[in-house]
């Protein structure tokens, strides 16, 4: 995958995540009802439109500008106006371009809104793990000795130990899944990467002249770290963070697949895959498997390509 394509993919998902509502929502972009015009009601949530959907407004409104996909991610077959005698999930057709899930919710809508959840979690995980990793790595590099030995050992263990087991235990300990729990749990398993890089940087720079001089002048180690060491180490940390985005998305979808991810009925790509697995034989809902998987794969691959490119730039810069 080329770099431009990868950046476009990531930017695309970011845009979709931000503009999820104008793309797919149960409320329209604009509507005139009973003499009042409502603009972007999915964000303003006016009281007059409570409980209304684009389907129910279609006849009552004077005019309406609909969203690209006229369904919201939480809209089930009860309100989408689909009246079929067979049971969902429904295959892709003219009304639901990517089909529906097991209770009639539009897959396209859930994909788009799911991207918001996924990217939010990925961002949170990357932030948390970067902070944790930077702190611990810098500490290990600076202090040396026993502190370094313990942290390094923990680092090695944490990167080799099968994380999924620990993830499940942690989620259970936090009284069940929730958004914060997922971010916390995933963040605490990603820190070794960043810590290792940070530690290497600190070790490299610790004995340089300007650092020694700063210490001689009485500067505290935290100040030195903040002022000199961390900015220098940002490069590798950024590279590692980009890879971490892909890995976080993978882990989050694995958790959601197990039912331990986001709280229902929130849309998540992993949750769609869980439904796909449930309906493998009857009715063989391939649309529930193909599209979310493509979404996940695209984000993961894109982040890998961008990360590799950043790595190349960093290496090129440090050579010069």
């Amino acid at each position: 995958m080329k770099l431009k394509l990868a950046l476009a993919v990531l930017a695309g998902w970011l845009v979709l995540a931000l503009l999820a509502e104008p793309i797919a929502s149960e409320l329209p972009i604009a509507v005139r009802l009973d003499g009042t015009t409502h603009l972007l009601p999915f964000w303003t949530r006016p009281a007059a439109l409570h409980g209304q959907t684009q389907q129910s407004l279609a006849n009552r409104a004077e005019w309406m500008i609909g969203t690209l996909v006229p369904y919201g991610p939480l809209q089930t077959l009860a309100t989408t106006g689909v009246d079929r005698s067979d049971a969902p999930p429904y295959a892709p057709d003219g009304r639901h371009w990517l089909g529906t899930d097991e209770i009639g919710r539009d897959v396209f809508a859930r994909l788009v809104h799911g991207s918001r959840m996924t990217l939010l979690i990925a961002l949170g995980v990357v932030l948390l793990s970067s902070l944790l990793g930077t702190f611990l790595g810098a500490l290990a590099g600076w202090q040396g000795g026993l502190v370094d030995a313990v942290i390094s050992r923990a680092l090695e263990l944490a990167s080799t130990f099968p994380t999924v087991f620990f993830l499940i235990v942690l989620v259970a300990a936090l009284r069940g899944p929730s958004l914060l729990a997922v971010i916390f749990v995933l963040g605490t398993t990603r820190w070794p990467e960043t810590a290792r890089l940070m530690r290497a940087e600190v070790l490299r720079l610790r004995d340089r002249d300007f650092v020694v001089a700063a210490r001689a002048m009485g500067a505290s180690r935290w100040w030195i770290m903040r002022r000199h060491l961390v900015p220098n180490a940002i490069g590798p940390v950024l590279v590692s963070s980009t890879f971490a985005v892909g890995s976080a998305v993978l882990m989050e979808s694995a958790l959601s697949f197990l039912g331990l991810g986001v709280v229902p009925p929130a849309a998540s790509w992993g949750e769609l895959l869980q439904q796909a697995h449930r309906s493998l034989v009857t009715p063989g809902a391939w649309w529930l498997a193909v599209f979310p998987g493509l979404a996940i794969a695209s984000v993961v691959l894109a982040s890998q390509v961008v990360g590799a490119a950043l790595e190349g730039i960093r290496r090129g810069a440090s050579k010069g």
């Binding site: 077959l77 079929r84 005698s85 049971a87 069940g176 039912g259 034989v281």
Partner: protein, 543 residues
């Protein structure tokens, strides 16, 4: 209506399978899972009956809590052990039929049982009154893990052996009909020698010895339980052996079933039940049974929470439950709506009571009337500073609730009620419900017998440490009277009143009666479905 469903489901799978030729298809009875009478057939002996069980037992005992399996006991120990009386398959909620007890008589505080002669255990020893006393004593012994049955038996003060064929059970107060029924139908005949040693490690728990038409041969964990016909039994079975194969995963079980591995396939998942309506191998080789068990699913409102205090709110919530949509999308049209805590086909249910229909407009009006209005326009009603919101406890392992709850939540949201889902894993669900640490939760109650004592579930004394998770206290006196009603007609009248009271008070939102979905090979005969399950001893195989 069902045929319409069938006709349209067949197209959602177009392209996957060849459409079966018209005219050669399942008939109405097959589609509905109704048993058709088998007339003019001559039974034969011999052969093996293989059936599928979903849950594997850890022990084989009908009295022990550790191995309590509920309805599963039917196919593990149901043919090994016999009880004093048994359920009448044609009238499961009626009087019990004699079995090991030829007759019994209940006076004010004592139950006299006349036992059958010439009944032997599988180990050769004879069955007599001493065995009954030993078994009851084992159940009543406080140190033994037999609390479930002990509580059901009631206040037995002593068991007296008058003659080898006569036992008198004395109670410290007049027993309720449920307690008598538990004794007659729930206590198996176990040899007194087997119960003589230390109870906890008695080998009889892993190697049961009873008086039934089948004897225990071998249990291989992860594989099967093998039972063998007792040749010189007073009412011998027809097949030579029964193999109970334990297959937990429904998908694997479905694959094995399609290969023909099970003569009796139990617990067919609803989606699969519907799917096989297009499979010729299914309707050509199997009969299907859809039996309404004494089991129902319910949603419980924790009545001590302020939002649920007003019965009008609870009624409104019931009106917002989208029963038809759920029936179509989740239950696939296989479950009957119920409002009754008793077996749906019993006389204890008042037929005049109809389920509250889905009516969002009326629900909104009712909530307005109860004073819950959305003053601040945020979409959620409030009253006196309290928002009309609650959390629904949802086990992470329940795919069904994962589908039902978002459908319910959508309707609630449109009416201004905010429901959030709280996923918890299996180990948390029950402990939180027992501790009343929940707002709303869904469970189902089931009983292998047609009669169930609602006292345990709805009496206020059962709120602490019992099954009254929702802390209901509106029918205490009625429940007490049901327990002491000795005459069946009077009891049924009171039970109908209980049904009406529960409907009026709505501590539960009663959902549906859970059916058992089974299928039997055409060449297997003699298995008639009923609430008392199948009498496996009557089954025979046509080679």
């Amino acid at each position: 209506m069902l045929l319409v469903v069938v006709a349209s489901t067949s197209c959602s799978r177009c392209g996957a399978r060849a459409v079966p030729d018209a005219g050669a298809g399942p008939d109405r009875a097959w589609l509905e899972g109704r048993p058709t009478p088998e007339l003019g057939l001559v039974s034969r002996t011999g052969g093996t009956l293989t059936l599928r069980a979903a849950v594997e037992p850890t022990g084989f005992s009908r009295i022990d809590d550790r191995f309590a399996e509920g309805t599963m006991a039917r196919y593990t120990t149901g043919t090994i052990y016999e009880t004093l009386a048994r359920v009448d398959p044609s009238k499961p909620d009626g009087a019990l039929l004699p079995w090991l007890a030829r007759s019994w008589a209940l006076t004010d505080r004592s139950l006299t049982l006349e036992l059958l002669h010439d009944v032997g255990f599988h180990d050769g020893s004879a069955f007599d009154a001493a065995d009954v006393r030993a078994t009851v004593a084992a159940v009543l012994e406080a140190k033994n893990p037999t609390v479930g049955l002990r509580a059901a038996l009631g206040p037995i003060s002593e068991v007296v052996v008058e003659t080898p064929d006569r036992v008198v059970v004395r109670y410290s107060r007049g027993p309720s009909p449920f307690e008598v029924r538990a004794l007659l139908g729930g206590v198996p005949a176990m040899p007194s020698e087997a119960l003589a040693g230390p109870y906890d490690v008695a080998p009889i728990h892993q190697h049961p010895i009873g008086t039934g038409p089948f004897r225990f041969v071998r249990f291989t964990p992860g594989d099967r339980l093998i039972l063998e016909r007792v040749a010189n039994h007073r009412a011998p079975a027809l097949v030579d052996a029964i193999h109970v194969r334990f297959v937990k995963d429904d998908t694997i079980a479905a694959q094995l079933w399609e290969k023909g591995e099970f003569d009796l396939m139990t617990r067919i998942p609803p989606a699969h039940w519907r799917a096989i309506e297009h499979e010729p191998w299914a309707w050509k080789n199997y009969r299907r049974f859809r039996i309404d068990e004494n089991a129902y699913a319910w949603i419980g409102w924790n009545l001590k929470r302020p939002v649920f205090a007003d019965v009008r709110v609870r009624r409104a919530l019931a009106m917002l439950y989208p029963a038809e949509v759920i029936s179509k999308a989740v239950e696939l049209g296989l479950e009957r709506r119920t409002t009754c805590p008793f077996w749906i086909d019993s006389d204890s249910c008042d037929p005049e009571v109809r389920p509250i229909p889905f009516d969002p407009a009326r629900a909104k009006a009712l909530l307005d009337e109860a004073g819950w209005k959305d003053a601040d326009g945020d979409g959620v009603r409030e009253q006196g500073g309290v928002r009309l919101e609650f959390a629904f406890l949802m086990p992470t392992t329940s795919a069904r609730l994962g589908k039902v709850l978002p459908l319910f939540q959508e309707q609630l949201k449109n009416a201004g009620v905010s429901m959030t889902m709280e996923p918890v894993d299996g180990a948390q669900l029950m402990s939180r419900m027992r501790a009343h640490d929940f707002d709303a939760a869904a469970l189902s109650w089931s009983s292998p017998d047609a009669l169930s004592d609602q006292w345990e579930i709805f009496h206020s004394s059962q709120a602490e440490g019992g099954k009254n998770y929702v802390q209901y206290a509106g029918a205490d006196e009625l429940l007490d009277r049901i327990r002491t009603a000795s005459e069946p007609a009077e009891r049924k009248r009171l039970e109908r009143e209980l049904h009406r009271r529960l409907f009026a008070d709505q501590p539960y939102l009663f959902l549906t009666a859970r059916p058992a979905l089974d299928a039997v090979k055409n060449r297997v005969h003699g298995l008639t479905p009923s609430l008392a399950w199948y009498e496996l001893a009557k089954g025979w195989v046509d080679p």
